[in-house]
Chain length 337, copies 4
């Protein structure tokens, strides 16, 4: 931690800061420049982090030196984390495509879609039973009924299933049915929910909030790891910006940034990132090329009648075409699909 | 709902859209311009809203005509809603200042601060027992112990108390102690939590998410009202932008925008909006002048030792000075403080 | 400047950095913490700023300690700068309201509007002869003809006139007619234009770019001052964010932030900041309360027929009403209007 | 154009709007729904666009149906535009890599870098003689001297050269030396400059402003085409968002969005988009995979001593490695490099 003092900071103010630093059991260095005096704090930064040092008289600015996350960092765990989900490895050489409808609407449609996406190369099935919807008047998901359907169809097709939990009260329930538990973008900073899924022994798919920095995403993952669950898969799904030609702006460079900072696998969700089915293919190409470990794609066999996110869903046939296009790109970067 | 067709849309495509509109029991008009054909849909827009019409062949764009919220709108309820909290009216002529520490750290500090803010004119006491913190390693609040303290001190000082609930499992507990239940910015789209607090008979203070539009804030309020609880107080607390000289950017014009769209009262939280104690006063002046119904201000008697948000907390004395400065401004816009 | 090294930085890498610092004639301190080594650079930060130190092997991050602006800063000039424009003082106790149409459309309309705004208390007249328009097919301004009109009407009414220059080739021309030369938001980083107006002996009204930080605004002002022209008036006019209920988001706290950092006067332009005539009044109230030195308001006597920005223009009568409402607010914060 | 009226709009207000529409020589349709009346305007939307219809009494909202750009649109020109620059085709099957230093610092360095980038497969040379710098105290470019160097070295190596013009007064000068004239991000809405380069017979490389939407970028291109110059190459170079782990956020999906809307070629500048040399490679991979027609890459042989943007410059050797990695990706999407 570096404490930059105001030009006119008094000796008394400097002493007051140093006293506080010493009280916390830390060491310090004082460097007196021509225009500013700087106090460097050496030791466990966490102890100082919670101190509102900027509120101290004479302080102009406080700059953090260390990263606020530990367990998720490359420094802590230099090798890539590979997460095994019923034999499918997330984070390895093979790019894992997870596909399925936004919401589970009924058993039949889910079964039909599951068979199709499997045929075209998807390795896992996605589908929501609990849906976060901005309006209270729209379809909110089938709840446990939906969970049962996805479990059955997952087992039937041999595809591990990914489904979302939105409520701390439902973690136990979702645990019974899911192979991977998803934390949606709007819950990325639902810290109680993070703590709950940090206690379970299932992989967690943590989606980046649309207002969250990469650093905050990593901090949310840190919540989960800090409870003992190290099986966390991150997912870039677009951030909110001023650009309105797409639903969100895909932060494609977040993939290499996260890869550098963390050992956890990273997926890209091109459906939510763009909000338009005809951009899902292009963004998937970019994601594969830049090094994403997988894709999360919305597929629906009747997008025109989808109860949720039909506009961004691919028809199974289009999904199949996209998979064919992605294969040589994966190969060109040393991966398979 | 207005459906704009692509330049080359075929008659068959147009018919397909019209058929779907009729299936939904709605009327339509077709307008053929020189460059585009447009289908207007007349009737309950909600029925159409969930249809992914943009996924239909031949469709270029779909534009909504009606607002997605109803119960929170001025159209539904033209008069200002005034919410009575133990005799204190939120949304009336008097500007309601709610003050207190970010987190309840212990009984004594809360009592000391409560007495001070009361002396200087605060009408309610704030303080968090459950704290949403971006790091799992920082102080997470005292939990029920904190709730007991704030209840006791609220009753002792005669100040109604505002405290946050973060988890659906805690709603019942917080209900027992709080006079107003706060939903924090990070939970503005925690829809299950919104539904839970929509069922209780207590006023809800709903804070705007830091990446939420005014429309989304109103939709989240709609969730609460749709469950039967009409006592919702909204709060602008700054949005996330590229500007980094402040923690967030106060969207001051959100106050008149919300006032025009909705009948609900609106507060401003200058502490979170700016993240700096020396900007709390200036932004409070702007908030009072522009028509906010109240302020939510962080006050701490030892900001240097605060376990949370010390940098943006005012000393009680500074809070008192600010209140004196705000009084003539309130008067100049026909309000009192 | 603080140079934070990577965890595994070698002694050789540290030496390489120190050698470079010494080559630049600067001093350094090395502080070896448990997790990071830090090199502090003491001396003229500008010399180091242009060095791409982050490109050096072993460097994790470089943090600036000093501000990149000098002449515009409070440190350089602690007292408020007051700019005299034909006897009207910008930056003093009196809040200066500058009003007029967005574009000068013809002589008559400008004269009519000028008389009206003067009657209601405006101290200066605004009007554009060169208009930056996002479409090449819309009205681009009357050019020199417009400049002549505003000069004549300014002299006739006794109102100093403010008008925009968009092109380095037009600075000399605009100089002949204007009392204050405006640099528009889209030209805030047109550095050649800044240099040109830095050489003239006229006050410059520099508008904040819609995606510019406060720091960048101050750097652009620094360009003007560095050429010898210290008469710069800054103007907050809204920034671009994700919120779409207003044209831009008024960054109201930029006013006190700038006031703290700089000695230059600051205006607010509520017309561009909101893009809606019915929000001009509310935002003006907030601007006066928070300490703006003036307002820049669009007024048009026939907004329905305005060739530019009619939607955000006030009718003269509405402008008059607003002025009456602002007077007591100004008084309540120790200013007059 | 669709005009949505307020719930209580009077017949008189509707008539007033219709009268105005008819005055403009346009047709209209009126559609009376249960909750809103809507007026559709048929005909040249440009005529109506400049009318501030939202300022009319009774109007709630105005929604545009047609795009504001024409000449740049796919509707106007369905086939891809391919621009020939001394025999090199921009917009064709081959991906065009343009490389070189940010600023031309002296003749020797430019020559050395030019030879290197040519050797590794760059097809054109970039280098700035006029540099837009946010600080007046940093290197501003060599001016005409720099132009001479890049011309000589371009001719010597056979690489067409790209260099920026920042000032309307310099267009003629730059014309003499450049093969492609660049308009930088900060000048994307310098409309006078756009008009000037619209009159010349040279290809223009138009970079997206860091605060500009795709629509605004296309409108700026429309300025150039509307003056007669159809040889415009667009360039995505990152937009400003809240994310701070990169200098800007690469809006990768802008590439397919622009390709759909417009016939003009699109490049990506990974150096400015990320601001970090170690992200240039990853983002280049994504750009090639998603369909960019070329890359604009900063290369410097001594990044540690670069006078501008050293942090984001690749060493020639690293550039060469990247080119090798990009080749199979280009091939996998049916292009060559």
């Amino acid at each position: 931690m570096i404490i930059v003092l105001k030009p006119g900071a008094s000796e008394e103010q400097i002493k007051h800061i140093i006293d506080r630093v010493e009280e916390l059991g830390l060491q310090h260095t004082v460097s007196r420049g021509t225009e500013r005096t700087i106090v460097g704090v050496i030791g466990e930064e966490d102890v100082v982090r919670i101190q509102p040092l900027e509120a101290f008289p004479g302080v102009e600015r406080v700059m953090e030196v260390l990263k606020p996350y530990k367990l998720v960092s490359r420094e802590f765990h230099p090798a890539d984390t590979i997460i095994d989900v019923n034999g499918i490895k997330v984070g390895g050489r093979r790019i894992v495509v997870i596909a399925g409808p936004c919401a589970i609407e009924n058993r039949q449609m889910l079964e039909d879609i599951a068979k199709e996406v499997k045929r075209f190369g998807a390795l896992m099935l996605r589908g929501g039973a609990f849906k976060p919807r901005s309006s209270p008047y729209t379809f909110q998901g089938l709840g446990e009924e939906g969970l049962k359907y996805i479990r059955e169809i997952g087992s039937q097709t041999g595809l591990p299933v990914v489904t979302e939990v939105m409520d701390t009260r439902d973690v136990e329930l979702v645990m019974k049915y899911a192979d991977i538990i998803q934390i949606g973008a709007r819950n990325m900073q639902n810290f109680n929910l993070l703590k709950e899924v940090g206690k379970v022994d299932k992989p967690i798919l943590l989606k980046r909030g649309l207002m969250a920095t990469v650093k905050e995403l990593l901090m949310s993952a840190e919540y989960i790891l800090s409870q003992g669950n190290f099986k966390v898969i991150l997912c870039e799904r677009g951030i909110r910006t001023f650009e309105d030609s797409t639903r969100n702006t895909t932060d494609i460079s977040a993939v290499p940034v996260i890869k550098r900072e963390s050992h956890l696998p990273v997926l890209v969700d091109p459906s939510h990132a763009t909000g338009k089915w005809n951009l899902v293919g292009p963004v998937s190409k970019a994601a594969v090329a830049i090094g994403a470990d997988g894709l999360l794609v919305e597929v629906h066999n009747q997008p025109e009648k989808a109860l949720s996110d039909g506009v961004q869903s691919l028809l199974p046939r289009k999904f199949g075409e996209m998979m064919e296009i992605l294969k040589p790109i994966a190969k060109s970067v040393g991966r398979s699909l």
